[in-house]
Symmetry: C2
Subunit: 157 residues, 2 copies
DNA sequence: ATTTTTGCAAACCTTTTGCATGGAA
DNA sequence: TTCCATGCAAAAGGTTTGCAAAAAT
């Protein structure tokens, strides 16, 4: 079992999510508030299916289409950002105004910071070398956090 | 002159794809050869749907399932690599044996390969700093290729 | 009052799977 | 001859859309 480690942005805060929707001109309806709350309460990357499940588990009256439409609205509003998991699934992460990169182990929840300066320099160098005017990039890292490495070693014995 | 150069290039690429399949222990069937030819002939990233279209346009007798199974085989054999476009579509690009990354032009789809040296150093540094045992990584870069930058400038007058 | 949003269901699109047949090694 | 691979069709997911009713502004 390979555990995943992804670079994500700062954890989501409910009020930030709602405000982003509001400021982007979206009406603040109760389904949207409910979904904002769900999204803000999920730690780490989440899929649309995960949100749909959460809706069902909480016994909320929110349709599947509304989940997708709201996720779309949240993305347009800049409250969440889509990432692509190695499995190919589309996932989303909350995103705060400041772009501080974190490393998070989705298994145990431990986080570590990644210095962004090096990556920015690397991207800049690549742009210069290839002649491309680079507008966006994604870096995904996969591996084992220290604790999980130890656990894996124990289990392998 | 230019045409001949093109043909030679395509054939070389095709043989690489077929050889990769062979060396990975896959049987060389005629559907696989046909699909290898299609994949080798596509310039830039391609989706499974694109391959299915190409099969239909050439009037080939190859089922949809075989397209997906062969793309999977090609990926396992290391002949192609999956990238995720900003649109969320799954696409594939042909790739040389060595580990590397691509820069994808968001306007025309041209790709350029990126030397991995610096990134490997960066990943190593992240691993050392965070204590994570990093097992894999993916870097995708999007921007405008030199040609499209020029075009954009022209259009902006 | 006007415009947006919602839930529902059905449509759509991509990808996978079961199975009998056909082909490669 | 022995598996592996194929085509077909059906299923399985994931996402979008049409529409009338409901809610926000």
């Amino acid at each position: 079992m390979l555990m995943r480690l992804c670079i994500i942005w700062l954890m989501t805060d409910l009020s930030l999510v709602v405000r982003a929707l509001d400021e982007a001109g979206y009406r603040l309806t109760s389904p949207r508030r409910a979904l904002a709350s769900i999204v803000a309460g999920i730690d780490g990357p989440f899929t649309a299916a995960r949100v749909v499940d959460e809706v069902r588990e909480r016994g909320l009256h929110v349709g599947r289409a509304t989940v997708f439409r709201t996720i779309d609205a949240l993305e347009r509003a800049g409250a969440i950002e889509r990432i692509d998991l190695p499995s190919g699934d589309h996932a989303y992460v909350g995103c705060a105004p400041a772009h501080h990169h974190h490393v998070v182990c989705s298994a145990c929840g431990r986080t570590a910071e990644v210095a962004d300066g090096d990556l920015a320099a690397l991207i800049g160098r690549i742009g210069r070398r290839t002649g491309y005017r680079i507008e966006d990039h994604r870096l995904e890292i996969f591996g084992l956090c220290p604790t999980c490495v130890a656990t894996a070693m124990d289990e392998a014995r």
